[in-house]
């Protein structure tokens, strides 16, 4: 079985970078959920280890060279009246020495670098849990993330669920401009392009909720193109997948179990029923699907399956409260200017409340 990473304390590198750093860190207390210094998966751990090698070496070089500089400053202070010092023009021997030493240092860095490049290049054939890697298609949109699980037949947005100890095999592309997928605690960045597929992989070693972000400048709302990585236990993941399958609307599967849709309109909570109608009349349905098994690809808006219980809305930006949801639905362009959710008919507080009630049934 492959080595699974045990998280290291976040303060470890800080000690290296000196007193100033310590002062700064003291002033800036954690936690640091998006830190690259706390790897929680194998890919990030490999990267972290080669990074730490360079940090240590750089620290040594830094201390020696800056030390030499400081020494010179204090040692060779002169006065205007001093006689000229000895005029030295150089020394070949010294020159050769200080060419070779850095070369050696760099060779020491180069070896783990190349090794890690190759080690991280290809996705492992099997996961530590013995299963084949979980395929996920990532699609970057201005400005949200779409995640498709081709083998499970489901689509979701802005919340990537993966099981612990299962290697995730990400195949990524963009629906418009270039974005970059980044969950710092699990893997480095990978750009997503409109015209080619890029790949990335990682295996989560702990469960929990971890923020991720778009790291390539992609237009007005680049700052707010975040998402969450949800690492579930194996059982929780299976439950989540079942839920997604079951929660698909009648339209597509004919046999929904949980969603409000399974209840005939007449017997539904009237507010929910109204929301369900509004979802169509207010054109939401044009851009959004409520079904994780939506066969229509490339919709304009994020898939809303399970939106009722998602942690965040607005691409990992706003907590998913009724209040925020209402703001979002009524004043999208104020909450997040320029997003493509525009041109909706005006929506009153009442209607928004109904819509929210309906969306809350999407669990």
């Amino acid at each position: 079985m492959r080595y699974l990473h045990v998280p290291r304390p976040w303060y470890r590198p800080v000690g290296l970078l000196g007193a100033l750093a310590a002062v700064l860190v003291a002033g800036c207390s954690g936690p640091y959920p998006q830190s690259t210094l706390e790897p929680r998966g194998d890919f990030a751990a490999m990267v972290d280890s080669v990074f730490m090698t360079t940090v240590y070496l750089a620290a040594v070089v830094f201390v020696l060279v800056e030390g030499a500089l400081l020494f010179v400053l204090f040692k060779f202070r002169g006065k205007p009246s001093d006689a000229d010092p000895k005029q030295i023009h150089g020394s070949t021997v010294v020159e050769i020495i200080w060419t070779i030493i850095p070369a050696v240092v760099l060779a020491v860095v180069a070896v783990p670098t190349v090794r890690t490049i190759f080690a991280t290049a290809a996705v492992p054939a099997t996961s530590p849990d013995g299963q084949p890697p979980l395929k996920v298609e990532v699609v970057g949109h201005q400005w949200f993330w779409e995640f498709r699980y081709p083998d499970l037949g489901i689509t979701t947005a802005n919340e990537l669920h993966v099981p612990i100890h299962r290697t995730v095999d990400l195949r990524m592309k963009s629906a418009d401009v270039i974005h970059a997928f980044w969950v710092p605690q699990f893997a480095g960045k990978r750009d997503v392009f409109p015209n080619r597929e890029t790949r990335l992989w990682f295996t989560a070693a702990v469960t929990g909720e971890f923020p991720g972000a778009c790291a390539e400048f992609c237009g007005t709302e680049h700052a707010r193109m975040d998402f969450y990585l949800m690492v579930d236990s194996a059982a929780a993941f299976t439950a989540w997948v079942d839920r997604r399958h079951a929660d698909s609307t009648m339209m597509y599967t004919g046999a929904p179990k949980h969603a409000a849709d399974s209840v005939p309109l007449a017997s539904m909570d009237p507010k929910v029923a109204r929301g369900k109608q509004l979802f169509t009349t207010k054109t939401c349905v044009v851009c959004h699907s409520l079904s994780a098994m939506n066969p229509f690809k490339d919709q304009i808006g994020p898939n809303l399956s399970g939106i009722g219980t998602r942690k965040m809305i607005g691409a990992g930006w706003l907590p998913n409260t009724d209040e925020n949801l209402r703001e979002w639905i009524e004043h999208t362009q104020k909450v997040k200017p320029d997003v493509l959710m525009k041109g909706l008919p005006p929506i009153s507080d009442d209607e928004a409340a109904a819509l929210i009630a309906y969306l809350r049934t999407m669990r």
């Binding site: 640091y32 690259t36 080669v50 360079t54 500089l69 023009h89 960045k189 392009f193």
Partner: protein
């Protein structure tokens, strides 16, 4: 001064108003000052943009500026600082000092030189005009396609950027040809290549980089303009299969050499200052020359280190990783040789030395974070985070700006004939050193803690808050530092001590002539017998400072005559580009009447120019 009456330029040339004088000047010193003044104003604009950026990022969830305006701010900040501040401030030193350092009367092509300046200025004004129209470029300083394509950037914002950079490129290429030729061909007798001051070497290497890298961005910009305005699709995938990666490659084939264009002159300036203030020649002259040439050469083989996250595959990643690391070796050689120069010297702690030492100390840090970027897997975590922002400000500000400031304090007396105040200079230095580190050191941390760059705000709860607050305080400190500098300049402009010809005990030829130099530089052409030509002369004369050179009449010395044509040519070029933007959206014939007029004006001016006699004796 008694000799003032002898000044023949005023005695005999036809009386021209001051304005006309500056508009038509071909004197490399005046052009240098023009470069410096415009570039400094652009620097203040870029700095002000940075201050707004910092105020916006001071606290989480701030809404000081809109997301759209924030994007314009950092794009303009980056573009301004690189193309309109650091490059032209360097150009100020090239212009003013290269001819003086090599003992020449002027550059090889004085009118071309004037044109370079005017094209640069008009290009800079053109880009900045977009701010007034509320349509400043908003796609980042490397304008990645397809975000910069018409589809995703429908306004004129990125037209300003693409066409503006195109204009600036023309200025740089013309200057590149000019200075390359000047340095190789206009040296005073005896000034062999290996006797040239290190600054001149750095300029030569810089020009080689300009000449070989700017054409690539020119073509890339032509293609971007074609995409945006002529319905092409070089970089937009959706129309006919174009590849956004091509833009990235072309941009960085230019972009990486460009960062060395920004740092080479800084290397040169420091290499001039350290010997003078340690009273000891530069350690390892030839190693310094070769390392610079080597850096420049390697600089053309590392561009893809900006693209590790694009997934180029392990072989390409490894190649570019290793090539990038190699650059640390020649750069290390330079650092060590500077320390070697100081070693055993008699350090005179004047302001220029402060800044030069600040440069070395800060640049090492920027270089080390550069090497961390070069480690491709680690860079996957660092790229597009604030760690990169920290890296490049350590090399650009800690490197280029520190060194250029050192150069300003060092050469100010020669340029303007007044000494800047030492006390204020040192206040400036400490404010800058502290402010700089307070601004940019925390960015290493906040980057590693996961803060992406180019975000207009961030939520609290990710641990970014304190670091950003520190950065903002640092940036304001930097601002105060520059206010002190401005105050210093204003205060000493009229009341500062008069600068003697050789205030620092200089090693190079510019200190042999009066401060400021007379129009013809050297009344008698110097003959050079050794490196550090002036030190050699002083040693031969057995003195520490040569006697003040008298102001002399330049009777009979031929100087290039002023000309309007460079200015008109520049306007032609500007009008051509504006024409593309204005008429950019029509099908059919790509160039509208405005562009055609621009081309005609350019052609006409060049024609008149090439038939205009080139020189006039200073008196008849």
């Amino acid at each position: 001064m008694a000799t003032a009456a002898l000044d023949p330029a005023h005695a005999t040339s036809p009386k021209r108003s001051v304005l006309v004088d500056w508009l038509t000047t071909v004197d490399h010193k005046k052009i240098g000052i023009l470069y410096g003044a415009s570039a400094f104003i652009f620097f203040l604009i870029g700095g002000l943009e940075a201050e707004v950026i910092r105020l916006q990022l001071m606290k989480p969830d701030t809404h000081l500026v809109s997301p759209e305006f924030y994007n314009q701010l950092f794009t303009m900040h980056g573009t301004t600082m690189i193309f309109l501040a650091v490059m032209p401030i360097s150009a100020m030193f090239f212009n003013f000092f290269v001819p003086l350092l090599i003992g020449a009367r002027d550059v090889a092509f004085p009118r071309l030189n004037a044109m370079s300046f005017w094209v640069f200025l008009l290009g800079g004004l053109f880009i900045n005009a977009s701010l007034l129209m509320n349509a400043a470029p908003n796609g980042g300083w490397f304008g990645y396609a397809p975000l910069s394509s018409r589809q995703y950037s429908p306004g004129v914002n990125m037209d300003f950027w693409a066409l503006g950079l195109q204009i600036l490129g023309i200025a740089s290429l013309a200057a590149g040809v000019n200075f390359f030729t000047t340095i190789l061909n206009m040296r005073a007798p005896g000034m062999t290549l290996m006797r040239m001051p290190m600054f001149v070497w750095s300029v030569l290497v810089t020009q080689v980089l300009v000449l070989l890298s700017f054409p690539v961005i020119t073509i890339a910009l032509v293609m971007l303009t074609a995409d945006r305005n002529f319905h092409a699709s070089f970089f937009s995938y959706n129309v006919a299969g174009g590849d956004p990666m091509l833009w990235q490659h072309l941009f960085w084939v230019f972009g990486h050499p460009e960062v060395y264009i920004l740092i080479m002159p800084a290397f040169g300036i420091v290499s001039e200052i350290l010997p003078v203030f340690s009273r000891k020649p530069l350690f390892g002259y030839s190693a310094m020359v070769f390392s610079m040439a080597f850096i420049a050469f390697l600089g053309f083989g590392v561009w893809s280190h900006h693209m590790f996250a694009t997934g180029m595959g392990p072989l390409a990643d490894s190649f570019f990783s290793l090539m990038t690391m190699l650059i640390a070796i020649p750069t290390g050689v330079k650092i060590f040789n500077w320390i070697g120069t100081l070693w055993g010297g008699s350090l005179q702690f004047k302001t220029p030395l402060y800044f030069a030492l600040g440069f070395i100390a800060m640049f090492i840090m920027g270089g080390l974070s550069g090497v961390m970027h070069a480690v491709a897997p680690a860079d996957l975590q660092q790229t597009d985070s604030y760690f990169v922002v920290a890296h490049f400000h350590y090399v650009l500000f800690g490197g280029s700006i520190f060194s250029l400031t050192a150069g300003a304090y060092y050469w100010w007396p020669k340029m303007f004939g007044r000494m800047l105040d030492e006390g204020l200079g040192k206040v400036h230095f400490w404010l800058m050193l502290i402010g700089f580190n307070l601004t940019f050191f925390p960015m290493h941390f906040v980057g590693l803690l996961g803060m992406p760059r180019r975000i207009y705000t961030y939520p609290s709860g990710l641990g970014f808050d304190g670091y950003n607050m520190a950065s903002t305080i640092g940036a304001l400190t930097l601002g105060v530092g520059f206010l002190v500098f401005i105050y210093n300049v204003i205060r000493t402009w009229r009341t500062g001590a008069h600068a003697p010809a050789d205030p620092w005990g200089g090693a190079t030829l510019e200190w042999a002539i009066p401060s400021p130099p007379q129009e013809w530089n050297f009344a008698v052409e110097p003959t050079v017998t050794e490196k550090d030509a002036l030190w050699a002369m002083k040693r031969a004369a057995g003195v520490k400072v040569l006697p003040e050179p008298p102001l002399v009449s330049g009777k009979g010395i031929h100087l290039p005559s002023p000309s309007w044509w460079p200015l008109f040519t520049s306007f032609g070029i500007l009008i051509f580009m504006v024409g593309i933007m204005v008429k950019g959206e029509t099908h059919g014939f790509p160039f509208g009447p405005i562009s055609v007029f621009g081309v005609l004006l350019t052609a006409f001016s060049i024609f008149k120019w090439s038939y205009q006699p080139v020189d006039h004796p200073t008196s008849h």
